[in-house]
């Protein structure tokens, strides 16, 4: 009798902690949904052509997907995966970031050197902000006052004031910047450079680079080390960097900016997402067509889960 009760308790407790994990498959034209607790695939759903950037509203009611070849952002019900509506995005949307309040959405348009600002409630374009050539990475400060855009060809991180929608600062970084991520209190901004092979740690108050993180992995040729996705734990203590075809995720001490470890994940690791409790970090591996699950506390890869063709982006539903 006792074992049954234990099992019964586990069953009733578990679902409360499970979050849906959404993975955009660039080549598969679909989204794979996983359960963050069982780490099993719940289902795969078509979403349009060439889905890349993916994010979710703070209340978990709307899932946003950049469908790059459809030149639009599609919005889905995260529970049913039914399309709710679309948002205008400008051509070839690749990455975007949602204001911490859930509105608006800032979209990088790679082809026409603009950041498009879209109201998620009225579905209207609020503004188009001219930036550098080939805008790509998008980040937002924790207080929502600053949006960062990185431009791949101009090699800059642009600081955009979210009130005036004007650029008030530019920082030159290494070649082909791909991603921008603030730490928890907004005291550091991490910008990855894919070809430069570095992370620029920027002090947002002065817009100066305070440190450059370089990577060296025994047995890996330097040209394979291509930093893309960056995620910072909510206490700022640990920074994770996806190193592309090096197939590794670097674990960095958020206080000292020192690299502590390189975790072998899947092939061409691109983007990452934490579960809300930060127990797990999911990585998308575009060439091995899987997602690696990292136990954050232990800094160990605990599982790989097969998803669709060329997984690109990932987001986890909030609690």
């Amino acid at each position: 009798m006792k074992p049954l009760i234990v099992i019964g308790l586990c069953l009733s407790v578990t679902p409360a902690f499970a979050n849906r994990v959404f993975v955009s498959n660039e080549k598969g034209n679909d989204v794979t949904v996983l359960d963050s607790d069982t780490l099993e695939v719940i289902g795969t759903y078509p979403v349009g052509n060439r889905p890349r950037g993916i994010t979710i509203s703070p209340n978990g009611s709307e899932l946003y997907v950049c469908v790059s070849d459809d030149d639009i952002v599609r919005v889905f019900d995260p529970q049913t995966m039914e399309e709710l509506h679309t948002l205008p995005s400008g051509p070839d949307p690749e990455l975007f970031v949602l204001h911490p309040s859930g509105n608006p959405l800032y979209v990088a348009n790679e082809d026409d050197n603009l950041v498009t600002v879209v109201d998620t409630r009225t579905h209207q374009v609020l503004a188009e902000i001219p930036v550098g050539v080939e805008p790509e990475g998008m980040g937002v400060s924790p207080d929502g006052k600053v949006v960062i855009n990185t431009s791949e060809t101009t090699n800059m991180a642009h600081f955009i004031d979210t009130d005036t929608l004007e650029i008030f600062g530019n920082v030159l970084v290494d070649s082909r910047p791909r991603f921008a991520e603030y730490n928890h209190d907004g005291s550091k901004l991490y910008v990855s450079s894919e070809i430069g092979g570095t992370i620029s740690v920027i002090d947002p108050s002065t817009q100066q680079i305070s440190h450059k993180i370089e990577f060296e992995i025994p047995g890996v040729l330097p040209e394979a080390i291509q930093p893309v996705g960056v995620r910072v734990s909510s206490d700022g203590a640990r920074v994770f960097v996806a190193l592309g075809p090096a197939n590794r995720v670097a674990v960095i001490d958020g206080a000292t900016d020192e690299v502590q470890d390189y975790l072998l994940v899947g092939q061409r690791v691109w983007q990452m997402a934490f579960t809300p409790d930060e127990k797990y970090l999911f990585t998308t591996n575009g060439n091995s067509n899987d997602v690696s699950v990292i136990d954050v506390e232990a800094a160990k890869v605990v599982k790989s889960v097969a998803v669709g063709q060329q997984p690109w982006g990932v987001v986890v539903a909030p609690d």
Binding site: I195, I217, P218, G219, V220, L221, A224, N287, S288
Partner: protein, 197 residues
């Protein structure tokens, strides 16, 4: 037709020249990676001279020869690796990984060189198409146009353009071939590493 052709050649020539902006000989969207390295797929022991020597062992070499062949399904490869692991240790498994990479890496390097040649040929062809177009313009602008010569030039131009476009369409697949070898190497590495103690 003329305008369409010009746009088409300009577009494709640009693409053929340097899609990633770093190597004029590299036509692919994917950034060029001339070589694979062990650490991209292996977090086990780092091989020393002794392991590299062991990788030349006949038993290990023969197994690596079989595993490398993509016609062997990965499930079969996994079970062959499991049988090998039963009678081997970490040194043997690391040596097997070295032997596998020693076989896949030269094949991949040859492919990368082939793709660079393909890209260069496309650039040359784009240039030739541009020259033919200019030649046609000159012929057409002549006071008394030589219509036979114009027809001949137009036919040659159409042909070159057709070859160019066909090759450009294949480029996506051509560029993906190194990835197929990388996937094989990575899948074998995962299978071998799963037996490390």
């Amino acid at each position: 037709m003329r305008t369409a052709l010009v746009i088409c050649v300009a577009l494709f020539a640009g693409q053929a020249m340097a899609a990633d902006g770093t190597d004029p000989d590299w036509p692919c969207i994917q950034r060029k990676q001339p070589h694979l390295s062990l650490g991209q797929m292996w977090s086990g022991p780092i091989p020393d001279d002794r392991i590299n020597q062991l990788a030349q062992d006949d038993l290990i070499g023969n197994l690596a020869d079989r595993l490398e062949q993509r016609r062997m399904p990965i499930e079969t490869a996994e079970s062959e690796i499991a049988s090998f692991a039963d009678t081997s240790d970490n040194d043997g498994l690391t040596a097997l990984m070295v032997a596998v990479l020693e076989r896949i890496e030269p094949d991949r390097t040859a492919l990368i060189r082939g793709i660079a040649r393909y890209g260069r040929k496309q650039v040359q062809l784009a240039r030739k198409i541009e020259e033919r177009r200019e030649a046609m313009a000159r012929l057409e602008a002549a006071a008394s146009p030589d219509f036979d010569a114009i027809d001949a030039e137009e036919e040659a131009l159409d042909w070159d353009q057709r070859v160019f476009v066909e090759r450009q369409k294949s480029l996506t697949y051509v560029c993906e071939t190194p990835v197929i070898l990388e996937q094989r190497a990575f899948a074998l590495a995962r299978a071998i590493a799963s037996h490390l103690e």
